[in-house]
Symmetry: C2
Subunit: 264 residues, 2 copies
Amino acid sequence: MLTVSTVNVNGLRAAAKKGFVEWLGETGADIICMQETRAEPEQLTAEVREPEGWHTNLAPSSAKGRSGVAIYSRAEPQAVRVGFGSSEFDDSGRYLEADFAGLTVASLYLPSGEVGTDRQDEKERFMKEFGEYLAGLRERATSQGREVLVCGDWNIAHQEADLKNWKANRKNAGFLPEERSWMTDVLNGGYVDVVRSLHPEGPGPYSWWSYRGKAFDNDSGWRIDYHFATPGLADRATSAVVERAPTYAERWSDHAPVTVTYAR
Amino acid sequence: MLTVSTVNVNGLRAAAKKGFVEWLGETGADIICMQETRAEPEQLTAEVREPEGWHTNLAPSSAKGRSGVAIYSRAEPQAVRVGFGSSEFDDSGRYLEADFAGLTVASLYLPSGEVGTDRQDEKERFMKEFGEYLAGLRERATSQGREVLVCGDWNIAHQEADLKNWKANRKNAGFLPEERSWMTDVLNGGYVDVVRSLHPEGPGPYSWWSYRGKAFDNDSGWRIDYHFATPGLADRATSAVVERAPTYAERWSDHAPVTVTYAR
DNA sequence: CTTGGTAGG
DNA sequence: CCTATCAAG
């Protein structure tokens, strides 16, 4: 059994003060993919930087306080790689890969974008480049008998069931037709949306609720945090849960951990 | 009887959330001079912007979130003037005057400075220009049978008794020889340091304690908030108190109100 | 250590 | 609404 969690922590330092440390102590996960750590390793306290029983690998952004991904694992990875071979994005704290026995796990933080801004252009450039990388990654892995699991915050809701208010969001970044069809292409290229595969019925489960307004209390969420796995691994998924906090006050991020257990 | 308080609120919005509103409701002051309001009037809630029973006059800085002075009074001022005729400083939220019957009250926020920086040069320019203004103000007022009271954060400790650790601060902004002698010149020009006059024995009473370290708990403070009054008014001062909060947690600013009662 | 602005989400 | 950086104090 292998349990993998992915969670956008929205600032690891802030999360640590609000309950992340307790969650880390109690989780049954073997591997945790984090996004938006928003910190240099040196800025973290020891209990977050080097928690007992964990191997930690962090890929901060070259822009201080922005983005940043990490992979924490109980077993030591055989290898770790930062970035996906992109001159534009490799130092932006958006992609980190770790190899374990027969399995490559990645932590992804796809740019969030906003229609009509430079950041949407950036998101599109990332999607194009990263989509090509994903295809190659799957091919190499498959030919080596290795499975691939790309976890993270993709900042795209794929289908209507993946966000509470899809009609109002058809022209908003995160649910644009071109973003959705890009994600369809990724899936058609040999990846499985593990949570949706185990829970074919929507709506949800959502993994992100805006801090604005009453989004959390109204469960006005989006499912933008995914496990995308090669089919051999996806077939071994036995359970998937979104660890939504019971109350607003108990949250330590605007995202909830998405946790999947895979049979060995 | 006329009671006048002066207090650097260190952000009126922050202070309002921490106890300023309660203090305003309980104070016996007739006039309050404030410094570092750090807000546009429109950014304030109604209970702070227009508290019942008060006439409020604010002089924000043209630089958002910086400086800003105000005068709140139970009686409506006969006239209010922003600035002291300085092209450099009049829109910087550092000086506001209000006329009452036979009395001009001013709220001053003198630049704070730091040795070896541009901001110390700015402080020195302000001191020079403002010192000349003060002399003229006193002359005009006296010739009209009017008293003057300049309250505020002068960002200078005058004498050794005016700060806890004067020896260590002889080369620091706020206790430099040139700043101290400038203040002596102001006093020799016809103003009285009212609190020191009522409390000739130091050390203290301090009116500011840094948020850094344990300054408040150790009473490692500075007396930099003053009532400078023309002699006729200073002679009528009957009591002076610094309203130091009982505990760190009860503070709503790093400064405490300096409150003086004047006989009629 | 604290405030408020600002960028980013 | 929340997390950061930054300038200022």
